[in-house]
């Protein structure tokens, strides 16, 4: 059955043949508008179209009026994504009636700086990286933060100091371009838990920072962070489980063990044997980060056929 989709952040980074599709490019330009000065904090469709015409070659031959329906449709989608909201109306200066006034949400600045970080100019790129770091730190700030927010905030700060944060930014872009379902910014931040990188040094450094940050937390806080990650992975597993009934039984039995996750394993020897196993959460996460496409994240022995290492664990 075809899955239904709500509008996802991925539409802003939709690619075909190695390039962003036209619609994605337009979303990106609109989001860059949010960074182009304090007077753009609120805007009308007309103001946005005028800016597009004056600043982007591809629109310079079009009239402001002819751009309005196209830009209007994009703004509607950005409203659905909670990146833009309507804050009121104002009279139309050249005619009678009212026009909507919009404002960007904080997430749109994050995405705007993410797009700005594509810049080949190192000064602009570094400025964008710094801005992204500050926005993330602010997003994770709260009077009563959860353990996960405290952990991620510390981890990201360490990554910035150690020069690994740029790789996290690249990974966030990769996530957005991957076509994976990403509902909103909190979902995106959660998915950074899946960080992986082809470079051995980068992963080693990341693992080291992860471990260092985790063990500095109080024991209870470590349990809460692990439990949150367990739930995150098991939810992903549930959405992909081939035998849901089997999965939920094993998941139920493992519900109290915060440091274990239940994952699907398939036997390469018999091809048919699908099992659900409790896996050590930390080991799984560390292995995944090194994971290279085509090579299994983790292998175990198949109990049915007694084949050594033939039971391969799903890569979530």
């Amino acid at each position: 059955m075809t899955e239904g989709n709500t509008v996802q952040l991925g539409i802003i980074f939709d690619r075909a043949n190695g390039k962003y599709i036209k619609a994605a490019s337009l979303y990106q330009i609109i989001l860059l508008f949010s960074l182009s000065g304090t007077d753009h904090r609120s805007f009308t469709r007309w103001k946005m179209c005028k800016w597009l015409k004056e600043n982007h070659q591809c629109f310079e031959k079009r009239s402001v009026d002819s751009l309005q329906p196209l830009v209007g449709r994009k703004i509607e989608k950005l409203i659905e994504l909670h990146l833009v909201h309507e804050i009121g109306t104002q009279p139309i200066s050249t005619a009678t009636g009212q026009t909507s006034v919009y404002a960007f949400d904080s997430t749109s600045y994050f995405l705007g700086w993410l797009i700005e970080s594509f810049s080949p100019d190192p000064v602009r790129k570094n400025k964008a990286i710094d801005k992204l770091f500050n926005i993330l730190q602010l997003m994770l700030e709260s009077d009563t933060p959860s353990s996960m927010s405290i952990f991620l905030k510390l981890l990201i700060r360490r990554m910035k100091i150690e020069g690994v944060f740029t790789h996290l930014v690249d990974y966030i872009i990769e996530l957005l371009e991957s076509g994976n379902q990403i509902r909103d910014i909190s979902d995106l931040i959660n998915q950074t838990l899946l960080f992986r990188h082809p470079g051995l040094d980068v992963v080693n450094k990341y693992n080291e920072l992860w471990q260092k940050t985790l063990i500095e937390l109080e024991p209870r806080m470590i349990q809460l962070v692990m439990f949150r990650i367990k739930l995150f992975y098991e939810q992903r597993m549930k959405e992909r489980a081939i035998h849901l009934a089997e999965f939920e039984k094993v998941r139920f039995d493992a519900r109290k063990r915060f440091d274990k996750i239940v994952l699907e394993c398939g036997c390469l020897s018999c091809k048919k044997c699908i099992r659900y196993e409790e896996i050590d959460l930390t080991e799984y996460m560390v292995r995944l980060r090194y994971h290279i496409k085509g090579i299994p994240a983790l292998a175990k022995d198949c109990p049915s056929y007694h084949s050594i290492g033939s039971l391969q664990i799903i890569d979530l």
Binding site: G4, N5, S146, S147, M148, S186, R220, Q223, A245, F258
Partner: protein
């Protein structure tokens, strides 16, 4: 994108023309054999004769009407694709022409929704309800997860009590009201009912049947089903933008993780604003109507002490995340 697009009405309460077209695009599936594919041209020809939303100038030749419809339906298929109610499987070249026509298919969810819409028509109701029952029964019988076992029980109870009418009416009402859930799986049909506010006699029957279905499950399946519900609601709570104290909540949730019967929630007093964790019977969660009614609990703040004053954010708007 949500199923509400099939129910949009104008100020006078009349169905909007695009809602009529969406409905008729789905209803076309009822004229096809199960799993049959069709071309966009065939769909357009059928709509030209059967959909009242298309208006033609007097004297428009019958032959040209489908082409006019064909031009208009293109953009309308996108929302139905997004909802998982129709999908494209390919295209075929036009006979004696240069253009191509898309080839489409309806997934089971599309056919089911077509039948639900068809059941609004009193003349078709009995026949449609019977088909809805058969589709859902087959769907749940072929899946062994606790959720499917539960919904099979629920469906069977409605069928045995000869109240399928009620069930389809409640589903229709839920589909019409919700503006944030896409139908991506048949089981969503029930889930949207269980989290929708409805208060009349049909709701009373639904709640009673829900409880009976739960009690009909064997203890281990019941635990699995309740645990699944618990996880869903606790996750909604943890990500809710109005969660008063995330650090207080996560610890409470962690401590309750072993008990499928109890779900961790957090409430706020509407008078003194104090935030309090509380456990709620999981079996009552799904049947609680979302009417923003404060919980029947006294405020723990001794200086406040107001009765019935605790509001749980996910009971107000469950999907309001950060």
């Amino acid at each position: 994108m949500a199923t509400g697009i099939l129910f949009q009405r104008d100020r006078k309460g009349r169905l909007k023309s695009h809602a009529k077209i969406f409905r008729d695009i789905l209803r076309f599936s009822l004229n096809l054999e199960e799993c049959n594919q069709f071309s966009q041209k065939e769909l357009a020809a059928w709509l030209a004769s059967n959909c009242s939303a298309f208006e033609f100038n007097p004297g428009t030749p019958t032959k040209t009407k489908p082409y006019k419809v064909l031009r208009e339906i293109g953009p309308l298929l996108g929302p139905l694709v997004e909802l998982g109610l129709i999908y494209q499987i390919g295209s075929e070249p036009e006979k004696n022409g240069t253009s191509e026509f898309a080839i489409w298919k309806y997934p089971v969810a599309g056919r089911l929704l077509a039948l639900i819409i068809d059941s609004i028509d009193l003349e078709h109701r009995i026949q449609s309800n019977h088909k809805i029952y058969e589709i859902l029964r087959l769907h749940h019988s072929s899946n062994k997860s606790s959720k499917h076992q539960f919904f099979l029980q629920l469906l069977t109870i409605y069928h045995q009590h000869d109240r399928l009418d009620d069930l389809t009416e409640i589903i229709t009402e839920a589909l019409e009201k919700l503006d944030y859930i896409p139908v991506k799986d048949l089981t969503d049909i029930y889930e949207i009912v269980s989290i929708t506010h409805f208060t009349d006699e049909k709701a009373r029957v639904f709640i009673s049947n829900w409880k009976s279905a739960l009690n009909n499950l064997d203890p281990s399946t019941k635990n699995l089903f309740l645990y699944d519900i618990k996880l869903v609601y606790e996750e909604l709570m943890a990500n809710h933008k109005d969660l008063g104290d995330p650090s207080l909540f996560e610890g409470y949730r962690f401590d309750l993780r072993g008990d499928p019967e109890e779900t961790a929630l957090q409430a706020r007093c509407i008078k003194c604003n104090i935030v309090q964790n509380l456990s709620y019977k999981t079996s009552n969660l799904s049947i609680r109507s979302l009417n923003n009614k404060p919980l029947d609990i006294k405020c723990p703040n001794p200086k406040c002490g107001l009765d019935n004053c605790l509001v749980v954010p996910i009971f107000v708007n469950p999907f309001d995340t950060l």
